[in-house]
Amino acid sequence: MRSLLIINQNNMPKNLEITDFTNHPAVKKCMDDLKKQFPGTPGKELIVSDVLDGHGNQYVNLVQKGGGVLGIALVGYTYILEEMGIRFLRLAGTSAGAINTALMTVIGDDKTVPKSREILKDICALNFFDLVDGNAAAKWLIRTFITHKNFSRQAKNLVSIIFGLLAFFVVTDIVFLGLQHTYPILSIATKLCFIITGFYLLLLAALAFYISTLVKRLKESGFGINPGDFFYDWIKKRLCENHVVTVADLNKKASATPDLHLRIPHPHGTRDLKGDVTFITSELVSQNKIEFPKMCNLFRTDINLLQPAGFIRASMSIPIFFESYYINDIPCEDDQIKKAWCDTFGEDNPPSKARFVDGGILSNFPISIFYNKDVVTPRLPSFGINLDDSTPESKTNDAAQWSLFSYIGRMFNTIRFYYDKDFFIKNQVFKKGVGTIPLAKYNWLNFFLTDKDKIDMFVLGAQAAAGFLEKFKWEDFKADRKVMHEQLEAKETAK
């Protein structure tokens, strides 16, 4: 196995190997348990789909949820699926899910080959802290904020100390200034106090000036602390290494489908089974959810002028944390562009510039991407990988006692999660294809993961996948989907 040189946060070289993940006892146990439950003998095979390739691999569609650095757990999940002979026809993802989705799409020459090991190699060779590519003060602030649980209290204490000291110096100035009239010898102390106060005020002024330049820089960078250039260059390099330079290359790789056949006959056969890839992002100028590369035609008449790496960069542009991703100079007067906007969104005036932020603010778990209401009996399921970092306390917290920050955060999450949640409420059957990885003890913005954290998250992903496969019943899924279709039809007829 190739040994990978990783620089950890203390700048000490460390070797992290793929086998540290795949040979972890918990991961091996998952595989052993699955092999025991599904030895492959008749009646004891793992059946998750009716679509197979020549090697006997089963095909599913896959949606991967966003979740910052929690994306490593996604790799653990897909690793187990691939080891159990599952492959992916259509892929979609948001944010961290988009990163994994992109790599799964471009790595290798065809879909029959497992991708997770290569992805593991890429992701673990990446020093996550390099993604935090803002200035030194921003890096320090983010690192301190993420790694110290009581950062807010510490920050408040620091501010109190600063102003407390200022008050102390001013009071001593006044005291000595008054006392020196009665005790002239104290005039020395008075002068000293004033000098110290002067220096302290100078320090505070310098600090205030530095903070104001940082704020000004933040404003000029569109309110993004980190430019996100390192990530863009990294993903672009990964794509190029796998011969994806243009959007056409990306589409070609995504749609490359091996010869497929069906386990049981189906009226539609396999003729319309084609691979594709979707990255979800949020566009703020027109206030729309954008699906790349499908909606490239909204921004350029020649879609190959757009950068595929930009789609993933756009999908993971966490607001404030990263700068937004822009597409400038949209030929909004061009008839082709106008028609595209009108057909897609019913909008007559396309913007000349687009500003993208993380797709997660609109659809962090876009399972509805693969929903087709006309499907009676599916040929293959849509699997989803859910990253759950909620804590038990967050569900039982006294709502009347929330801080302002918690209150705003809850409002934001209620709004942004509801689009996907609403789909699940109305289409409960899709929940059966979703596996959840519990990640409560991890912070999704903690870019300072230790090697142990990475391995642990991979293991949690693997365990979640194993648990999912043990419970998933393809025949039940198909039956429920059929019932759902019948119910929908009945509702429409009743209207």
Binding site: I174, L177, G178, Q180, H181, T182, A400
Partner: protein
């Protein structure tokens, strides 16, 4: 016109100390102020003093009686006793401002200055009267079904608050600023340093006691 009080600094130390002590007691009592006007929450005396409208006072007090019996009893007792202790706080507070302004008047050499500070001193009596009216008004409101005041009565209540706070804060700020000026130009006697130390000691002792009591209450 000169108005001289013998041993004014001694008197000031006493009134200031009593003001600090009663203030501490009232702050401890305020920790038990609780209401249930939609949600169970703490409130302060300022919510009653600076209510946006008469209904707000009614809702706040009704909310106290919506609490479970034990909490209701504690909250009502705390509110009533704070208002009663306030009757002890008043002479100490307004007396302190009065003495401060009288002392300042005494130290000033110009007639205009002396007169201004004499007026500021004596007008504290008016502020005291406003405070008494406020307390009586609030005490009459404390019942399970408080009656809301009409718009005119509530407007008078608000005006009463403005007078009380306006007069007392003006007197205090002007007096303290003047004393600070005298300190900076050295216009004070060596003997008065002792009283300054006493006042600072009172502030520190009461401050530390207050912090210790809140820490104990949190535990």
């Amino acid at each position: 016109m000169t108005f001289i009080i013998e041993n004014s600094l001694v008197l000031f130390c006493i009134t200031f100390g009593v003001m600090q002590l009663t203030s501490l007691i009232m702050k401890r009592q305020e920790a038990n102020f609780c209401t249930n006007d939609g949600t169970v929450r703490a409130f302060s005396i300022f919510d009653l003093e600076f209510a946006a409208n008469a209904k707000e006072i009614v809702n706040l007090i009704t909310g106290i009686f919506n609490l479970p019996p034990a909490k209701q009893h504690t909250s009502v007792k705390a509110l009533k006793s704070q208002l009663y202790i306030d009757f002890l706080f008043m002479p100490a507070a307004y007396g302190s401002i009065f003495l401060l302004c009288i002392k300042t008047s005494d130290k000033l050499t110009t007639h205009a200055g002396k007169t201004v500070f004499l007026i500021l001193a004596w007008v504290q009596v008016l502020a005291w009267l406003c405070d008494i009216i406020e307390n009586i008004y609030l005490l009459t409101k404390i019942s399970p079904k408080p009656k809301g005041s009409g718009p005119f009565a509530f407007a008078l209540y608000q005006l009463n608050e403005w007078f009380k706070w306006g007069i007392s804060l003006t007197g205090a700020v002007c007096g303290i600023s003047a004393m600070l000026y005298f300190w900076l130009i050295g216009s004070y006697s060596k003997d008065s340093l002792l009283y300054l130390i006493i006042i600072i000691a009172e502030i520190l002792v009461i401050g530390i006691a207050g912090k210790m009591l809140s820490k104990k209450a949190k535990q």
